[in-house]
């Protein structure tokens, strides 16, 4: 009998490696999950309301109903992710017992703890967490996150925050690789991040886990933009199912993400897509979800 080691960092990060170059789509029911899988999504995020509707409805946003998550797991063959509130380790335990494939400790839901994120190391299931800058990304990795996604501003269909966060994370990584040994300690202090992770990023020029992009992707060209900036895959939330033709939009974003450097393919898939989600200016928002997390 072969000894099997489950839940190791390599196994947790390994699934994120397999999702690279792909699109992870928010879905609220079985029908949407099937549309996503048919379109070529690499995974779905099962949640009761997409971020645009969470914004519209207000109130406390929590983990989804297990019955809804299980229905989606039964309907598709690709990985199924689900969201827990920041710091809500009991929701995460429930999601692990449902055997979701990834837990998103997400700022899109109402935070449960204003000082602590979930200690993610004891879990067998891997976690993805959002980050707006390099320090936040490294703090999440130090807590056990196996994937980082830039936060952007969920539910806005506005790519500007995603670009800001990606540029901040990747720009600081590039600058950090130029730091000498003494400067790495100053970086660790400034980033409020553990020195061993800071040193690892300085040596390798990359995060120790895959870096995906979320929050505001609404068109094939948006996906191409963030992939060219250095994201390794994309999460699309409201952007698919708040567009006028979700099926066509889903297929187009998948193809544009795979061929993100080929403008002729991005142009081809962008033709006649109908209306993208309407979207919102950042200045007009009541809640900045990206500010949740510490």
């Amino acid at each position: 009998m072969t000894d099997r080691n489950t839940g190791s960092s390599r196994v947790k990060r390994g699934l994120a490696e397999m999702l690279k170059g792909g699109v992870i789509m928010d879905v609220v029911d079985v029908e949407q999950a099937k549309i996503a899988e048919d379109a070529g999504a690499v995974a779905v995020m099962a949640l009761e309301r997409v971020p645009a509707d969470i914004r519209r409805d207000g109130g406390v946003a929590r983990m989804s109903d297990p019955a809804m998550i299980e229905a989606i797991q039964a309907a598709v063959t690709i990985p199924v992710m689900a969201k827990a509130r920041i710091g809500h380790f009991a929701e995460a335990q429930v999601l692990e017992s449902l055997q979701v494939d990834y837990i998103d400790e997400s700022e899109v839901l109402t935070p449960a703890d204003e000082a602590h994120h979930i200690d993610k190391w004891p879990f067998t299931v891997p976690f993805v967490c959002g980050a707006t800058n390099l320090g936040e990304a490294l703090r999440r990795i130090s807590e056990g996150a196996a994937m980082i996604r830039s936060k952007g501003e969920a539910g806005t269909g506005n790519i500007v925050e995603a670009v800001r966060h990606l540029r901040s994370i990747l720009g600081d990584i590039r600058r950090l690789t130029q730091a000498d040994a003494a400067e790495r300690y100053a970086w660790a202090k400034q980033l409020q991040a553990p020195i061993d992770l800071v040193a690892e990023v300085a040596d390798t020029g990359a995060l120790p886990v895959p870096l995906f992009c979320a929050g505001g992707i609404a068109t094939p060209a948006d996906a191409s933009l963030v992939m060219q900036l250095g994201a390794e895959a994309v999460f699309v939330g409201s952007g698919i199912f708040k567009s006028s033709d979700p099926d066509a939009m889903a297929r187009a974003v998948v193809e544009a993400t795979a061929h993100f450097r080929d403008a002729s393919i991005v142009a081809k898939v962008s033709r006649g897509l109908g209306e993208a989600m309407r979207g919102a200016e950042i200045q007009g928002l009541d809640t900045r979800m990206a500010e949740r997390g510490w």
Binding site: G14, M18, V254, H259
Partner: protein, 189 residues
């Protein structure tokens, strides 16, 4: 073998390209039919097989790759890549296509969901240097092996590494470990 393509539509293709580079081979990212010219072999990486199958069709790559494989181009498929090479896919989507150059039946996600993904030291027939550090991510298993398919490693009674002529396939991910022996085996074959 020196100039080797890595199917780069989705998944862990970059890790394969790095492994090839470390062994002194020239890795070519394959996204369009033109990228296939002059290749001496092709690696089909891990990722989501349903996504890759769809992108192969959309990119006009399915038929040209099938032709090259039928002509005998060596191929190495890992996880989703193994599924794409298999003769029969079980628990897949009805519209999911495969190249059928490896006479096996594979069952998708047969080890379970991500909580059941694992690492294990796997004994590989004919490979010197001890067990291979194999990483299984929502991995498929081989349910049926045809005549002419050589089983090189098994886990729990299921074949997880096999070879038929110039086609090598693993249910696990050699690209996620630092062990280059299976890539070496593919290049030397």
């Amino acid at each position: 073998m020196h100039k080797v393509g890595v199917l780069a539509l989705q998944g862990a293709w970059q890790r394969h390209a790095e492994a090839l580079g470390a062994l002194g081979a020239h890795a070519v990212e394959v996204r369009t039919p033109e990228d296939l010219s002059g290749l001496e072999g092709l690696i089909l990486p891990g990722g989501e097989s349903t996504t890759m199958s769809r992108l192969l069709e959309l990119s006009g790559l399915f038929e040209p790759v099938a032709e090259r494989l039928a002509e005998g181009m060596p191929a190495f498929g890992t996880c989703a890549g193994m599924i794409l090479l298999a003769g029969e896919i079980r628990d897949g989507r009805p519209d999911q296509r495969s190249f059928g150059v490896l006479d096996v039946s594979v069952r998708r996600n047969a080890f379970g969901r991500q909580v059941d993904s694992f690492e294990a030291d796997v004994a590989v027939d004919g490979l010197g240097g001890g067990g291979f550090p194999a990483v299984f991510i929502r991995a498929p298993v081989i349910d049926r092996v045809g005549d002419g398919v050589e089983v090189l490693a098994s886990v729990g009674g299921h074949p997880v590494l096999c070879r038929q002529g110039r086609v090598l396939a693993a249910a696990f991910h050699p690209e996620l470990s630092d062990d280059l022996r299976l890539h070496q085996l593919f290049l030397e074959d």
